[in-house]
Chain length 562, copies 2
């Protein structure tokens, strides 16, 4: 039997991973990676950190942990895989099982035969249909070359005003990097919220307030019409439907689209999301052709629906599966939770599973909780705040998703919830996990357990709650109610809701001043983070008050003026 | 109906938590907390951090997150619970349902009637039966007063040589605190390893090496015979069966024992572990008496066995359960995983579930993996190393436990594994969790997935491995073999095994130099962390070599001389 020919189109992340796994399983296979670009196997996610200077050396993005550059030679010598860079796959001949390629340097065209073909063609940044994208000072951040270009520009000219188009994950990571370089950052977003693919509107609103306090300026619900430049062809402004925004540097980060051209032209099935359709073995509609990474759609493990969520983690996990299956294995890739996390402007942000809106749109009845607290014991100097929203299914108690933000370690909690969701946990099970505790790491009752306990209290009828947004709507509507602030007097004097309906009764005084609280009105209890207002609610309920709610998340989660 | 009388003995952690929950559920109950000491509701786990100065204010250990001191007045005003400090519960009269107490200040004795009684009597540090415990300069660290006393001593006199008796969690946290105060720390331990209740011997050995490099001196397998002092009654030495160790300050930290005297005298059942026996509702053998926290035994969720593992997390979770049940609820406490974590000398250490030895002793057949890698992308400046040992059941693939150590974020991974074990995850499921990834937080394939993949590779017959300890034994035995080091030349020249059987073939050269490796000998491949040696093993296997293993964890996990 002659050696199996495995050909992989795409040399960034998913392709090389599949190649390396295949090599370890089949020492005799001929493995060829075809890459249009000059660079391979790079850490695309590291680009914002290279831009900011946190990653000093460009080469770091291409190095193994032991300092060897992952170039063609590395793949040949260490992995036994042939890599053809600057080589474009132009056509797949499925009948002859050949890939038609062109060497982009020499112009030479030839065919490469395959037994198994792997498509790891990735994704490309979406270019919005507007004028001015070619002006000087306009960039994207999808490829290390992009990072290099921005860096060269910033090295040549002092900062100034940067406008980022798109308030998604890459947009906000870019803003973080540019702020570290002392640029003034504005972010323009078509949707009415930041991180629209990631956070529910209420969480996004809270985060936007906090990031605004850190100096990022948001233009939400603004449609970009064009980019304007001066006579030298340098960009000067981002023109939106609500007016122009001055700009010396523009980064376009409005999302990516899967590269499916080759697959489509080869007649392979494209899924409803627009990405390549694959089965659980990551086979395309042609059983000898596999596809993985940023060019395929996958299954959401909670909803069971097809989704397009390009992620480095998915690409890597899929690489192992494809490596198995192209060498005769039978490994399954079940799907994703859409977990995503980012760091920007001192904040750690994450989500996993379904969002509240997503869940409701899918027909779930949900119970949510908003917990605001510390990631570590509050007396430990490293503590930081975490706001977590937990989304569970009414009735079954199944955990559907979580979103978290704060300067504290939110991502650990997202990982715990992701693990719980993967295994079908209920809110009771999540609350009862025996997590690790010591003061530098967590609190005796961790964030996830607190959030789960809030859900349990709500389900048990112990806690009726209202969100900051709902309270704001009631206030604006002029509802008759008492907003009972139970914080300490110094806290109240420093920062409070400016509203005639606010009444201060410090929690410790509430039992003896209970008759100062009107029994005939709706009571909304508020405090800093939600803990004391829940306690106060129980006191009021215990004293026979009927219409009492407390505001989840507390004033720390209040995204409006104070 | 008159108000229910709930009496709680013990005011440190579990008792107040149960009281607060009970209050929220039953506004009318009379809730009384009896505490022998002067201080209540304190953060016992914070003491090492107060000692080190990381926590500046003593009061921080008693404060709520909003700055109110948790004293008698706080419990009365905010929680509606009466707290009697300096009041000792001396006898339980179960027939009359009364607790006999004495006010330790006034000497007054009286009885307190109860409908439901809760025992939260905690634990006491074990005092070894040796001379010299009363010498000046000898301390324990169990109560905030102990921390105060050590601090007063250190404020009065400059550091010097501290000896800690006991290499358990508290012992190592204390060593960390004292080292931050520039003391020279020795730790004496009766067992042949550090953290004997927490880590397997192999992991403990690796950690001990790393902590020794940080300056902690360990005396393992040393039995303390007595403490010696000078004519002024100041401690001068810890005398062991292998000789004396100079000491200017001694901290005794040889573990705690549950306070069960009151329960035992009341005729309540004591469990096989020596702690109070309770059912899943945390009821003692008297259905009107509940017990929780550091005085009770609980169930290990993996083994199903009764265990005594006092932890603040357990106390808090149990507080919620007891609060429910004394007010008519029916809530179950299922048990624990024995999760514990600590920080010392720059290292983060954790374990959850069963250890390897523990699992084998219980009759499990296990497959383990040792993974060594980074907690974040290696190009991100904040990355740190993590060494994780994963313990799984052969055949079922069920995850049984994990242990981790390193300067990186080990605890996040322990939490993920704890969540997975709670929900009965298999190693495949653990490998496939869609965890959050961005360069400041993790790597595209996280530590837990890497460790799970090693188990999967071993089970699939792709990787035969050897541990550092096993290789050392083979070397010492004089086994005929080739120790094939596949690192780069600079790495090899800097630090390597000094042994004639070592042969250097850089991984990238292995394919072309394959004939330099003897085919008739046993080959043990080594590298820095284990990644390259696995790759080399696959190359050798692919070339027909039969007897090849690689060393898990790599030389970074080598605890012996180099």
């Amino acid at each position: 039997m002659s050696a199996k020919k495995i050909v992989i189109i795409g040399g960034v992340a998913a392709g090389p991973k599949a190649a390396a796994r295949a090599r370890r399983l089949d020492p005799d296979a001929e493995i060829t990676i075809i890459e249009r670009g000059r660079l391979i196997s790079y850490a695309g996610c590291g680009m914002p950190y290279y831009l900011s200077g946190e990653v000093h050396k460009f080469d770091s993005l291409f190095e193994t942990t032991y300092g060897v550059i992952r170039n063609e030679e590395y793949f040949w010598r260490e992995k036994g895989c042939r890599v053809l860079t600057r080589t474009e796959a132009q056509k797949i001949d499925r009948d002859k099982k050949e890939v038609h390629v062109e060497n982009l340097e020499s112009g030479e065209k030839y065919v490469i035969p395959y037994d198994k073909l792997v498509l790891a063609t990735g994704a490309e940044p979406f270019a919005p249909p507007i004028e001015g994208l070619n002006l000087k000072g306009v960039y994207k951040l999808n490829h290390p070359d992009d990072a290099q270009k921005i860096k060269e520009r910033l090295d040549a000219e002092e900062g100034g005003e940067a406008v980022i188009i798109g308030a998604g994950l890459i947009g906000l990571e870019t803003a973080d990097a540019l702020m570290k370089l002392h640029m003034f950052c504005s972010v323009v977003e078509l949707q009415n919220q930041i991180l629209p693919g990631m956070l529910d509107e209420d969480m996004a609103e809270i985060l936007a307030k906090k990031l605004t306090d850190q100096g990022i300026e948001f233009y939400l619900g603004h449609k970009v019409l064009k980019l304007e430049g001066d006579e030298d062809g340098n960009v000067t402004a981002v023109v939106t439907d609500k007016g122009p925004i001055d700009a010396e540097l523009v980064v376009v980060a409005v999302g990516v689209r899967p590269n499916v051209k080759l697959a489509r032209e080869a007649g392979l099935a494209i899924g409803e999301t627009g990405a390549i359709a694959v089965n659980e073995y990551l086979q395309t509609s042609d059983p000898d052709i596999y596809a993985l990474g940023d060019c395929v759609e996958t299954t959401h493990l909670v909803s069971g629906k097809k989704v397009y969520i390009p992620m480095a983690t998915t690409a890597n996990r899929q690489g192992r599966v494809v490596g198995d299956n192209v060498t005769g294995g039978n490994t399954v890739f079940r799907g994703v939770l859409g977990t995503s996390v980012l760091h920007t402007a001192g904040f750690n942000i994450g989500r996993t599973g379904l969002g509240e809106k997503q869940a409701r749109d899918l027909g779930y009845k949900v119970v949510t909780a908003l917990y605001h607290g510390f990631d570590r014991t509050h007396y430990h100097p490293d503590h930081g705040m975490v706001l977590m929203k937990l989304i569970t299914e009414e009735g079954t108690g199944r955990v559907l998703g979580a979103q978290a933000l704060g300067q504290g370690d939110t991502v650990k909690r997202i990982d715990v919830v992701a693990t719980a969701i993967t295994l079908g946990a209920t809110v009771n099970q999540l609350a009862e996990v025996d997590l690790g505790y010591a003061p530098p790491f967590s609190t005796p009752i961790d964030v996830t357990a607190h959030a789960a306990n809030i859900v349990r209290n709500k389900v048990a009828g112990l806690a009726e709650t209202i969100t900051p947004r709902e309270l704001k709507e009631k206030m604006d509507r002029g509802d008759d109610m008492v907003i009972l602030d139970v914080r300490t007097e110094p806290q109240f004097n420093m920062r409070r809701l400016k509203d005639d309906r606010v009444q201060l009764v410090v929690l410790g005084d509430l039992r003896e001043r209970i008759n100062d609280v009107p029994r005939d009105k709706e009571i909304v209890v508020i405090c800093a983070m939600g803990t004391r207002s829940y306690e106060a609610l129980r006191i009021l309920k215990g004293a026979g008050f009927k219409n009492v709610k407390y505001m989840e998340g507390g004033l720390q989660a209040w995204p409006y003026e104070l």
